[in-house]
Assembly symmetry: C2
Homo-oligomer: 335 residues x 2
Amino acid sequence: MADNTQIILRERPSGKLQESHFELRHAPMPVPGDGQALVRSVLLSQDAANRAWMQGATYKDAVNPGDVMHGYALGEVVESRASGLAPGDLVMGELGWQEYAALDARVLGRCSDHRPLTHQLSVLGIAGKTAYHGLLNVAGIESGETLLVSAAAGSVGTLVGQIGKIRGAHVVGVAGGPEKCAWVVDTLGFDACIDYKGEELPAALGQHCPRGVDVYFDNTGGPILQAALFAMNLHGRVACCGAVSMYDGGPLTGPVGVPGLLVVKRIRMEGFIVMDFADRDAEATRDLSAWAADGSLTVVEDVIDGLENAPRGLIGLLAGENRGKRMIRVGPDPS
Amino acid sequence: MADNTQIILRERPSGKLQESHFELRHAPMPVPGDGQALVRSVLLSQDAANRAWMQGATYKDAVNPGDVMHGYALGEVVESRASGLAPGDLVMGELGWQEYAALDARVLGRCSDHRPLTHQLSVLGIAGKTAYHGLLNVAGIESGETLLVSAAAGSVGTLVGQIGKIRGAHVVGVAGGPEKCAWVVDTLGFDACIDYKGEELPAALGQHCPRGVDVYFDNTGGPILQAALFAMNLHGRVACCGAVSMYDGGPLTGPVGVPGLLVVKRIRMEGFIVMDFADRDAEATRDLSAWAADGSLTVVEDVIDGLENAPRGLIGLLAGENRGKRMIRVGPDPS
């Protein structure tokens, strides 16, 4: 415990993110102040939004060159100068890409003792709640409706499609590459999955969504959003969850037909952030736990060992190499 | 009554609409069949959407070259072969740009005997209901919120802003030209009006909407929508009513930042058509009548005499020359 390994954003990327934008650094062990706890990081979440944070302020402050890269992680309290937190407690928060962080107790959330701990970053974490609230509380889905999900093999998409199936929808995914698409159908039970790299989207949407699209859960923006808008039914809903196609040097142009198509088809597009639904998280946790326990949800996790692999992990995630929830194991589970 | 004057769409416009795209024709008087009524047109509504209809199917069939130009009008039954309709009855429907139409009774709506009849096309007609439902039932507006309205001097915009004031909002319009903007403030009581032809939108929005924009009522799409999205507050709502900037040969590109801005700011954009709210029209009619009667709504109408002036009227409307609800007087009020 002589030092604290950290990964720094060395330079703000202007195009595609590369390993050279990061730098590994050894810093002194942080010392908790009054009201703070020293937390050892166990599992670090990796999310497409991490890339968006580098571009400027979003729903949180920007990551600036020289900063320890921001990241949400689960950790164990090893020292506490805050009432209500004791060594051994499991917490979640913005620990960043580092082994240890000293943070105010008020910015740390208490974790449940649910095991495996990885579930607390996947099906019971932000990914699961994002899928749940976005599909059920933002878009809404009825039995028999057609649900289209982009980034279908990703942390959120894998869950959105499965929740759609649980609710009786016809579920079509969009993912990159024939193997990933086959896996989405065979392992996750989607009705179909369109390979946006190999298929013409409009024709494929016509084939796999013969009754049109009622709900589009958008993780990508860009050309997939564009094609989806043309395929939407009257009174269709678009849950805008993310825009991964635009985070990593992609084009920023908006979809043709906004707002004209929205008017003609009476489409509702709505952006959301999972934190806005905190008052309904108990319901999400209850349902997601039950579905995971009875096997109606297949929980897919993609855990990479070692903090030093975090840059490579995020770059790969932005290129779509992950299946399910990607996270970095920074240290061992507490005993 | 020897013949029926009609205006035909001669050619589908590819850029700006011009008078040469139309042709005046004298056709034989139509003869009502079983279940039909012969209707004499009195007042013909002119709407930006008329131009969109020429481009292809929207929420209704396209107008095709050779067709009598489509249009919604108020008229008087002069002959009836339909039960429930008698000569002298006032009706509304898709009479088209012509003096007489023979139509099925089921596509004709009965009018009230409210006078002046012009109100039935303005504050109590589609314009009024569009403003009412779009602001109150699609976007929603709370006292103290900031409401931005484009095409603020138009048929819908004049009413949206005034309803916003009635509900206690800070109301900022966008219109073309300093005279029109001054009129919007002085006559209609908006708090401010931005001249999009003469002012830089982002700076003007910053000046006149110091607390950001909570609701944007979008009649235009295009650059005004773009600027509005950047000025929106968290959880802002955009009621997508029309896209007049795009109907008449304008650019079709969508706004930069869709969907990214929608996610970051949790913005809801929703397209609507007034017909979707028919089940709540009674409430709209009650409130709009009361507000017009007690003077809290200034009803602005722009009535042009003579069917032959309909092409010029629509062209002028698309160029923004009207103030308030433009309509064509095709014939005298029934006695």
